[in-house]
């Protein structure tokens, strides 16, 4: 191997070693939070289960109310706007 190649190989080895150190630092930093993440994942699962319940209830409510509720409210809007345009005068 040429001197340049030896230098490059050395650089490569140093950088790889640094990567190992950094990965170790990362693992050490994240180790204390592993349990918290397990708890959080469990809470998210509970939340997702609730979301399913909420979606089911919403579907039941919408099945009863819609689309008639939207139609009635829009008709109320038209009637209210027409009513506002009528100006009464005294006498």
């Amino acid at each position: 191997m040429s001197t340049t190649q030896e230098l490059l190989a050395g650089q490569k080895a140093l950088l790889r070693a640094r990567m190992v150190e950094l990965r170790a630092d990362i693992a050490a930093l994240m180790a204390p939070t592993a349990d918290l993440k397990v708890q959080r994942d469990a809470a998210i699962a509970e939340q997702n289960a609730l979301d399913t319940t909420i979606a089911d209830l919403t579907a039941q409510i919408d099945a009863i109310e819609q689309p008639r509720l939207y139609e009635l409210k829009m008709e109320l809007s038209e009637v209210a706007q027409a009513e506002s345009k009528i100006k009464l005068s005294d006498g």
């Binding site: 909420i54 979606a55 209830l57 919403t58 109310e65 819609q66 509720l69 939207y70 409210k73 829009m74 109320l76 809007s77 209210a80 706007q81 009513e83 506002s84």
Partner: protein
């Protein structure tokens, strides 16, 4: 058409799933104090006094619909008629739409509309309509 003014914090809260347009309760609160885009929750809004049927928290928007077509989500809200009953409502110039179901943050804000004119006071029996765009929707998202 009156412009929708979105509160800055909405996009963050939407990304955190605080808002669910399919199932949460959205309300319209009235104020005569101009909101600012950095407001985040209903408590930041100075609501008008309770009178004429207006209670703290405002009016529930009963018909909020979320749809998706061709990858575009759209929310439409049925027009909301506000009628002063047993007294006057106002004065107010702004309508603030917020999420009454949100708890963290509580009553997260979505947007406000500004009435183009002097502040309104509805006398007993008078009505005004919050006329949401039923065709293009209140908002769309790609």
């Amino acid at each position: 058409m009156v412009a929708l003014n979105k509160f800055y914090d909405y996009v963050e809260q939407e990304s955190k799933a605080v808002h669910n347009w399919a199932s949460h309760t959205y309300k319209a609160a009235l104020t005569n104090t101009a909101p600012v885009a950095t407001n985040t929750i209903l408590a930041d809004i100075t609501q008008i006094a309770a009178s004429g049927g207006y209670v703290a928290g405002g009016y529930t928007l009963d018909s909020v619909t979320l749809t998706e077509t061709g990858g575009v989500a759209k929310v439409t809200i049925a027009d909301e008629v506000i009628t002063a009953t047993g007294g006057s409502v106002g004065p107010f110039k702004y309508v603030v739409v917020y999420n009454d179901s949100a708890t963290s943050p509580a009553d997260a804000l979505f947007c406000w509309y500004e009435y183009a004119g002097a502040a309104l006071t509805l006398l007993d029996g008078e009505s005004i309509t919050i006329d949401f765009d039923g065709t293009s929707g209140v908002w769309t998202k790609v």
